[in-house]
């Protein structure tokens, strides 16, 4: 009896995942989200402002933390610019910074709550940061920057709708994403 009790203490039922295992799992999740974002942006390039890199990066930031969000957003835009019309240019810097910082800001909101409302707020904030960075950047390298900003207005609205729509799909996988990043809802 006493030996059985001793045995149960020495071999716990649940083996805790190591820190390395959790890190690998989180990095894999970020890589998967980023890859999906890249594929989506390339597939949808004919449709301005309907893109997948930013919402998926925001999800990485919201569930995985600021570093995962920044890495996903910046890498996603850098990689896709090799594959879409227009290619690389001065805009790449602002896209990468905007998406990276926008996605990283989601981590801050996630500290308060991981509810759907907060995820939607993170998508709106992330898209705002991205649009501010990209359009402010365009003032530096576009000959008619201010006019370009005005002409971009309808596409900014489309971008918000795009982020929230893809965000709804992502929030549907809330349990899977939380588990991938091993987060409990605060």
């Amino acid at each position: 009896m006493s030996s059985a009790a001793t045995l149960s203490v020495e071999t716990p039922d649940i083996i805790e995942e190591s820190d390395t295992g959790a890190a690998v799992r989180a990095t894999t999740a970020t890589a998967a989200l980023t890859s999906a974002g890249v594929l989506g942006r390339v597939a949808l390039q004919w449709n301005p402002s309907v893109e997948t890199v930013l919402p998926l990066a925001v999800a990485a930031g919201f569930y995985g933390g600021a570093r995962h969000g920044f890495a996903s957003g910046a890498t996603g835009f850098f990689v896709t610019n090799f594959l879409v019309w227009g290619g690389q240019g001065p805009w790449t810097v602002f896209q990468c910074l905007g998406a990276g910082l926008g996605a990283a800001s989601a981590a801050y909101l996630a500290r308060f709550s991981r509810s759907g409302k907060f995820f939607a707020a993170a998508l709106v904030v992330g898209t705002t940061v991205f649009e501010l960075a990209v359009n402010a950047g365009s003032l530096l390298y576009m000959p008619f920057g201010a006019a370009s900003l005005l002409s971009a207005a309808p596409f900014i609205a489309t971008h918000y709708a795009s982020s929230l729509s893809f965000g709804a799909i992502l929030y549907g996988t809330d349990t899977i994403l939380s588990r991938a990043y091993r987060r409990n809802k605060p």
Binding site: P143, A161, L164, A168
Partner: protein, 145 residues
């Protein structure tokens, strides 16, 4: 079998209401945002196109900012005085900034270093370079094969 179980678990953990709502919203967004493109295929993004013009005796280089998918004609016409003749296959450039084609020389254009395969108002550019060269008809024939 294992894969089926995995997908079943995945589906069980997915909130299908959100996923369905998102898919419907994305589909609606694609439909709405695509409709203006039917009459206007250019995308919103502005791209830089390197424009080089070889007048024969001098050259001019510039960078033109145009909407992604603009035609080569628009790239040229946005910053230079252009004469052209319209044919069934499209526009043919006959003069740039007063340098007119003649019995020995004509305007040929290249996109990203390659001779263009379409009329100047039908070939769309997505960045890269467009070059117009005023060259002898003999050379044109050799280049075009």
């Amino acid at each position: 079998m294992e894969l089926t179980r995995y997908f079943r678990e995945l589906t069980a953990e997915t909130n299908l209401r959100y996923v369905a709502a998102g898919i419907v919203a994305v589909a609606a967004l694609l439909l709405v945002s695509q409709s203006p493109q039917l009459s206007q295929p250019e995308t919103n993004a502005t791209v830089a196109v390197s424009l080089e013009i070889d007048y024969g005796v001098e050259q001019d280089s510039s960078v033109v900012m145009v909407r992604n998918g603009s035609t080569a004609f628009k790239v040229l016409n946005s910053s230079h005085r252009v004469n052209y003749t319209e044919y069934s296959f499209g526009y043919f450039v006959t003069g740039i900034d007063g340098v007119q084609q003649n019995s020995t020389h004509s305007w040929l254009y290249f996109v990203n270093g390659e001779p263009a395969s379409k009329a100047v108002n039908r070939l769309r550019v997505y960045g890269g370079s467009v070059e117009f060269r005023f060259i002898s008809n003999n050379r044109s024939a050799k280049i075009l094969g």
